[in-house]
């Protein structure tokens, strides 16, 4: 087994071209300081939350409703109201109606235009029917993927949690890839692109399914663009990689942390002392300005 060595290689890769700092034990990128986030000239700001896991009730976090609320409170306290919010999946823990209800109630309270994409925990047993009834993107394709434009940025919401097979990790599928090619066709190469998907679109740790089997094909269509930002969830921690013009970045969860790749027997919830939990959960702020592009800041809850 070369998994350890491969992971180290992967880590080295992840560090390329990124400036890190560590706050409260959580690595975060240096962008604009979190609290100082302000809409730049000609641009806008938005926020990302991920992996809220409504209905989770194990030891790693006995109250995920409260930590989601704390995340939304943090967003509400920003000096500038974000133009919108995105949720990169695993809204619920077990795709149960009451879990979707709770998520809807709490997230609605933020009073922000919110764009969701599902995680594999949202599509259990019904291929996401219940999820799409509540959180499906406006004008989404039958498979659930969609795109929209905001403030000069083209946003693409991809689905990689339905229809996958054993050991493939996430899967986009032929229909979605064809749609993506058509969606991007004719867009100017200078259009900044933000791609949202739940499972990472690059192989962080395939042994734990932290990869998307057919993502390479998607990147052939994204290649002409000068700025591509990929926002993922799924692994409940921040991992970054910059490859050419593409920046990949996974997000913290608002519910519970997971171990770093390969550091535990399995990717199950990481139990940490209560006082440490909030330092490993958080939100992401993204600021866009035509002159500077997109800047991402990961902000732990404490």
């Amino acid at each position: 087994m070369d998994t350890r060595r491969d992971f180290m290689k992967c880590l080295a890769w992840a560090g390329t071209g990124i400036v890190w700092s560590v706050a409260g034990g959580v690595p975060r990128s240096l962008g604009l300081g979190g609290a100082a986030l302000a809409a730049p000239a000609g641009g806008f700001t938005f926020v990302q939350i991920s992996d809220t896991h409504m209905g989770f009730k194990a030891e790693a976090n006995p109250d995920p409703n409260a930590t989601l609320q704390a995340a939304l409170d943090k967003i509400a306290a920003l000096p500038q109201k974000p133009a919108m919010m995105i949720h990169t999946g695993d809204v619920t823990h077990l795709s149960k109606p009451e879990q979707f209800d709770t998520a809807d109630q709490i997230i609605k309270g933020a009073k922000l235009d919110t764009h969701f994409i599902p995680g594999e925990h949202d599509v259990i047993g019904d291929d996401g029917r219940m999820y799409f009834d509540r959180f499906g993107g406006k004008g989404a394709a039958p498979g659930g993927w969609y795109s929209f434009d905001q403030g000069g940025v083209h946003f693409v919401g991809l689905m990689n949690v339905v229809g996958f097979g054993p050991a493939t990790g996430g899967t986009l599928g032929k229909d979605q890839l064809e749609w993506l090619e058509a969606d991007l066709k004719g867009k100017s190469a200078s259009t900044p692109i933000v791609v949202m998907a739940h499972i990472p679109l690059w192989p962080i740790y395939p042994q734990w399914g932290w990869t998307t089997g057919d993502a390479d094909q998607a990147f052939t269509y994204l290649k002409p663009f000068g700025s591509v930002t990929v926002l993922n969830g799924h692994i409940h921690q921040v991992v970054q990689k910059v490859e050419g013009k593409v920046t990949f970045q996974t997000a913290m969860s608002t519910a519970f942390p997971q171990p770093a790749a390969g550091t535990a027997p399995n990717p199950g919830p990481l139990k940490v002392p209560a006082e440490k939990l909030k330092t490993m959960l958080g939100i992401r702020e993204i600021v866009y300005a035509p002159a500077t592009g997109l800047k991402l800041t990961d902000d732990p809850l404490a």
Binding site: H93, S95, E120, H121, G165
Partner: protein
């Protein structure tokens, strides 16, 4: 972990005999699969793995999966769940399926796709 090893180390003589008469099965990575039936018809989900990963049963056997993990898992046939598909199994939840037709049935967890198993009916 010790418990898991102990559990896997109690093969039923009958299952071993059956296993020995079968051609060698290999998993996705080409490794020889571990053939270790606990009791016919029972698969335990523990530490993000199906145990035994390969279970051999006679036609008509009802196989029951039990999730011993704190994490939820599912049991979904590799044909996209057309043959069998469990709901989300929380801790200690069970799912059963009766295998009538002989054959090799691969399955996986649709939440953690790296978790794979096979039921051989013969």
């Amino acid at each position: 972990m010790m418990n898991a090893i102990k559990r896997r180390a109690q093969p039923l003589a009958a299952a071993v005999m059956l296993a020995l008469s079968l051609p060698a099965y290999a998993d996705e990575a080409g490794q020889p699969a571990q053939i270790a039936a606990v009791q016919p018809g029972a698969v335990t989900i523990d530490n993000f793995a199906f145990a035994p990963a390969l279970l051999i049963v006679a036609p008509g056997t009802k196989v029951t999966w039990t999730n011993k993990d704190e994490e939820p898992h599912t049991v979904v046939s590799a044909d996209g769940g057309q043959t069998f598909k469990s709901p989300a199994l929380d801790t200690d939840d069970k799912f059963s399926f009766t295998f009538d037709k002989p054959g090799s049935y691969k399955y996986f967890c649709s939440i953690h796709s790296h978790m794979v198993g096979t039921i051989v009916v013969k």
